[in-house]
């Protein structure tokens, strides 16, 4: 199979949004799910969280940050180009899609996104917005130029808060500081926090919300090969038990996740990936 890139938008120097023609996936997709992408015949299979989808127009959006050889290759493609494989939707949808309207209407959600994590947060916030549910959203990044999808998010969220490490825009500091400010100083009440971003950020968000006593969901971006439960590369410890992020997740109770193990396991192939990335960079003359 091959899948056509319909649109491409550069969000930051190393983050690209792509709209991929994939009508079957678009019809089945739900918030919280991901796809597996293989760029070309020699490519590896990588999981990417779905950033948006349109069942009627038959497309799925992904947002990819260049972190290695494969993402570099993917982000170099242009509209009209095709990728070899695009499969999904995988993983369990976010828990809230199964909750009753009454339950949802009585809930106040806070989404805490870090960096490229704003992309998978978007379809969740959009879904809730379309169902008339209120959401607050925090997007954090190192500086202003690395914040993505803020305009899109503003359309869907009741309140959008920004945080930058250098204070170039919004709250000056980490997202955890902003969470604290909203809850402790501004008196905001949240029934559930959903956090998506770098593993280390989710670890600290979870620690903060545990202190504040707010139930929290984290979406784990682990290593994967097939994405269907076959390999177990995505093993995570949650509440002392081992789960496969691809089929049991990717969303888990953040207060039960062993983030230190998850961070360590993400680095399992780092040396080899760096080597491949170096080779690939030479090839692409970047």
């Amino acid at each position: 199979m091959s899948f056509k890139i319909l649109e491409r938008r550069v969000l930051t120097p190393d983050t690209v949004l792509m709209r991929i023609e994939a009508s079957r996936i678009a019809r089945s997709a739900q918030p919280g799910q991901f796809v597996i992408v293989r760029v070309d015949e020699h490519g590896e299979r990588i999981p990417l969280t779905i950033a948006d989808y349109s069942p009627s127009e038959g497309w799925v959006q992904i947002v990819t940050q260049t972190v290695g050889a494969t993402t570099l290759k993917l982000n170099a493609l242009k509209p009209g180009d095709t990728i070899s494989d695009f499969t999904g939707p995988l993983g369990r949808p976010s828990e809230f899609v199964h909750e009753s309207a009454d339950t949802l209407h009585s809930k106040r959600f806070l989404f805490v996104a870090g960096g490229v994590g704003a992309a998978p947060v978007y379809p969740q916030v959009k879904w809730l917005h379309e169902h008339g549910i209120h959401t607050d959203v925090i997007i954090g990044a190192r500086n202003k130029s690395l914040l993505i999808l803020t305009d899109d998010m503003r359309q869907m969220a009741d309140n959008l808060y920004l945080a930058t490490d250098d204070g170039s825009v919004g709250f000056h500091g980490l997202v955890t500081g902003l969470v604290r400010q909203l809850v402790e100083k501004d008196g905001k009440k949240y029934d559930e926090v959903v956090t998506i971003g770098p593993m280390v950020m989710m670890k600290f968000v979870a620690a903060t919300t545990a202190e504040l006593g707010i139930p929290t969901i984290a979406s784990l971006n682990t290593l994967m090969v097939d994405g269907t439960g076959m390999c177990g590369a995505c093993r995570v410890s949650v509440g002392g038990k081992t789960y496969f992020a691809c089929v049991d997740g990717p969303e888990f109770d953040a207060h039960q996740v062993d983030f230190d193990e998850a961070i360590r396991r993400q680095g399992m192939y780092r040396t080899q990936e760096e080597r491949a990335h170096h080779k690939c960079k030479l090839e692409y003359g970047k």
Binding site: M1, C231, V247, R264, M268
Partner: protein, 477 residues
Amino acid sequence: MANKIPRLNAREQDPAVRATNFEEVSYGFTAEEAQAEASRCLNCRNKPCVAQCPVSIQIPEFISEVLQGNFATAASIIARDSLLPSVCGRVCPQESQCEGACVLGIKGEPVNIGKLERYVGDWALEAAALGISATEADHPSKPAPNGHRVAIVGSGPAGLTCASDLAQMGYEVTIFEALHRPGGVLVYGIPEFRLPKERIVAREIAKIEALGVHIETDIIIGRTLTIDQLLDPPAQGGEGFDAVFVGSGAGLPYFMGIPGENLNGVVSANEFLTRANLMRAFDECYDTPIFVGAHTVVVGGGNVAMDAVRTAARLGSKASIVYRRSEAELPARVEEVHHAREEGIDFQLLTNPVEILGDERGWVRAVRCVRMELCEADSSGRRSPVEIAGSEFEIECESVIMALGTSPNPLIASTTDGLDTNRRGCLIADEAGSTTRAGVFAGGDAVTGAATVILAMGAGRRAARAIDQYVRTKSAR
């Protein structure tokens, strides 16, 4: 009966050389060797070999054609019962099936049926590649379409067999494959050095596509489309298939549940082999990474364990098998164990891991094991292993591969109403392949749990007959 001619074994790559490459181990027979080995068959009247073949290949019949040098006829005879002779000749456990029943084996050595089947299968593939009509299966007289459509889930041995049988009955067949390449366990599980992917598997699959079978990759049934969507009429937004066959295999790896299993360096055999076989991580032109340390320990004693340990050795690691029973109980094919030993694989038998130990960075540094002994056979006749107290010791290693078996993926059952599974997660199906849901049939590892290629093929074939009957009955109403 006796036979003075010694059994002929196919020539093999030198163990020291092959342990460093991914080329096929066995060269297979030449025409002369095949004919010489064929001359050993007694052509006995009872044909115990046929009775032991799960798909009842007419073994003496094809062997006598090999003896005459009529390879095309031999291929046609096999094609009546099996469409993957080049695969089965390589991966079937012949010693417990056809060859295990061979009369010559009573006093001497059985006919080398596996290598003869492989020779005939490969001969037909070569002939087809050269455009020579070798068997009817290569140039089938396509039957008139009967107007009915069947969906097959999974392109492994069960699905391929079911698809090809149905196509030859006039059905329009679509196979849905979750991965990016068709073949199932033939491509992700069994290594290149045992079953070449391009030369053999891809060609065998092309043969099936030539029958008109359509293969759609990258479609995960249970996620991209559900079984209900496959069966629903187009008016309701469905795909409108008359029936579905589920041959989704047993792909979920077991882990031991011992401490240290989530350390960096511990992987399932499925992950390790998928990286090597499907993703071709051993070839530096491919992007997928794979990790082996200076020493790799593979836990398990089946074919998958042998495949993993031999792959690890080929990637440059010292490689050991750790298995809790003794040599006699190793579930792997005798040939695989023999090949592994020749390639310098270390066997730690009657040994069981109790913990995986890590270094300060969370990477594997050793496996703590305990020695085992087999106790007296219980009522089931099986001798179970028990720990020898105080026998704990450590094996230093940097990578550990768990090859403890697999179970069926729950995805399809959990997304399909009325499709029941048993305690082990296997789909419940009768001998013919009918499941608890009308119009849904199943066979192969998805029903039995992890078994063999040939058993899955047999199940696919029986299900094809049951599907044909179901569709006829339904449309007669």
